[in-house]
Symmetry: C2
Subunit: 369 residues, 2 copies
């Protein structure tokens, strides 16, 4: 999940706890699929050893508790099979933190499942998940959380907005087309990797039946706010028109129908590869920062709330705005981006009503015949 | 191989070519085992897919040409089996450079064997090689170069020298004991991982039949020179007695006999685990910097030679001296260590005769019954 890499760059100077706190929402969403994962490991296919994979895992922090519980559960039930867990992400990912976490050298010691259990082996793979990442017919159980909204290439700039959710019809169509091709590639790669009878359980950012998506669940819409504050910098002459348009997220939020499409036709390449969609649903995960603000019943000031909310947005979005300013010196670009988030934060501090970052996930259980 | 990680820190500000140049000797030694490796892949055990491993691989740069040639050779011979190559090192290793190299995003494009061949998958493992690193009975071919002279813990400080090769009898005995236990652990871990009929081919720094070892092959002895220049800083009051003794390499150079010992007794745990030593020999690899100096026939000045030789030594040794100064500020420690290498470099520049860093490797072919 690219967000967290950037988060680590951005937050490198802050304390450890800060990082975990900022990913609380993503972790809550992952924790919610624990029952599905527990069900899946009851019917793992017969193999020489168990191979699990976590695709687009970043530093593995948000899913570590899930894997720790699943693996200790298997061992408690008397399963002594050797387990290999392959974490995948882009090559620039922070694999060192990942390997340290699972050995108890970083973060929460209860996540160090590699040393708490016998014969559990943690591996990494630094190749993008649009390609096949392991030998065919070797995967016992696949998992991915909040990673596959990144498309393999930006099909166009969004001229009047920063994200495809606010794009014109033609722009959205180009993103949809790219995301559709990517989704097929992702599924065909997984189909090759998966053993017959294995499952791939995937949570993705997407658009639900009510048209809701990340930061757009009633109240203010986060991506519209990004666009407003970015446009304000254009109006004030701080950025150029070209810099305005280059700030385009390389993401597509698929609808539930877009996710389901490859499975609806028995003649599709995905169906022919043996994949079946067992289950699909959408899920809203409330913004943990807004919840903390409301629960504080006034103990937290609007200013404090704004100072907690904006960094969680900034952690994964900052790279988009910095990249748009790539023709400037790093210092100048950083100063403009600071001003951008500061103006958003000031707006929230002035009136926090309706500002939040709720998550919308599409959750799917996919099985290989 | 810890050397290269440190090298990357040290040389981070220098150009790409500089790095490759500094590892020329290590790469020459690896290239010399290509015929043994080619022989080994002729008789790989039957498996669902081929799994190769490179233990203590650092960023994978020095062995990449070897693996590229082996894999393209297999494909040319019509082998279409899926291949997974697992690179292992400590969690702090630079796995990102490794993953980029094999995909053609960094370094020599001819090393990008992952994209030049079908169905080759590169994985990493950030756990030390004293432990088992993958499921039992899953490894088709193991390899390790210049990594296993690092012992798992420093058994004592070497009081009057910086390396066990210059230690007192009792000090050497403690290092030998730790290295012996480590070697058994390493071999038993590999025995669990290896398929019946598979081989583990390992090049290690060690002491040959003539008592030669790294930088000690006639002429000046590198570790004695390190000690002399480090002691000069003590004499001049720049470092304390405690800092002098704390500069102790966490390494043991095993003799050929020490390497062979676990195999000589059919009742040893290693023999009982099914490992057999098929072949063992020692090898001298000439210092490529001295060779370039001599071959230049005067075109390279002694000063230029010194400026090429000392950085290759510094790349893997600097961390030892910096660590010994850990109670000082980083700036102060760095300044002392700069003075240390500068004085060694000045000695070489004044009279280069007999200064070199020849490699001595012990090369072994180990088979699992």
């Amino acid at each position: 999940m690219i967000e967290k890499l950037n988060m680590e760059d951005v937050l490198a100077m802050r304390s450890d706890g800060y990082y975990s706190q900022r990913t609380a929402g993503a972790k809550n969403a992952i924790d919610s699929v624990l029952p599905i994962m527990k069900e899946a490991i009851k019917s793992l296919p017969q193999t020489e050893f168990l191979r699990f994979a976590d695709f687009g895992a970043a530093d593995g922090g948000t899913s570590a508790a899930l894997w720790a519980e699943l693996i200790s559960g298997l061992r408690k039930d008397g399963n002594i099979e050797h387990i290999e867990l392959l974490y995948t992400d882009l090559p620039s990912n922070d694999f060192s933190t990942l390997f340290k976490t699972m050995q108890g050298m970083h973060g929460d010691p209860s996540n160090a499942y590699q040393i708490q259990n016998e014969n559990v082996f943690v591996h990494g793979c630094g190749t993008g998940f649009h390609r096949q990442l392991m030998a065919s017919d070797s995967l016992s159980l696949g998992f991915s959380a909040t990673a596959m909204h990144y498309v393999s290439e930006k099909p166009c700039e969004i001229e009047d907005h920063v994200h495809m959710v606010g794009g014109q019809h033609e722009e959205r169509a180009l993103f949809e087309q790219r995301a559709s091709e990517d989704w097929q590639k992702i599924l065909l790669a997984r189909a090759s990797e998966m053993k017959s009878g294995s499952q791939f359980i995937v949570l993705n950012f997407g658009i639900d039946e009510e048209g809701r998506y990340l930061g757009h669940t009633g109240g203010h819409s986060m991506f519209n706010k990004f666009t407003e504050h970015w446009r304000a910098l254009l109006s004030s002459g701080n950025i150029t028109q070209e810099e305005f348009r280059k700030a385009t997220f390389v993401q597509h939020y698929r609808t539930l129908d877009e996710f389901k499409k490859p499975f609806n036709n028995s003649e599709s390449p995905v169906s022919k590869a043996g994949l079946r969609l067992k289950h699909a649903r959408t899920q809203l995960t409330k913004c943990p920062y807004q919840k903390a603000f409301i629960d504080s019943e006034g103990a937290m000031s609007p200013k404090q709330y704004a100072a907690s909310l904006i960094p969680t947005m900034r952690s994964w979005s900052e790279t988009v705005f910095l990249s748009a300013l790539s023709s400037r010196s790093p210092e100048e670009a950083q100063s403009i981006v600071d001003a951008f988030y500061n103006s958003y934060e000031a707006e929230v501090a002035a009136n926090p009503d309706g500002h939040a970052m709720d998550y919308i996930h599409i959750i799917m259980v996919i099985e290989k015949e």
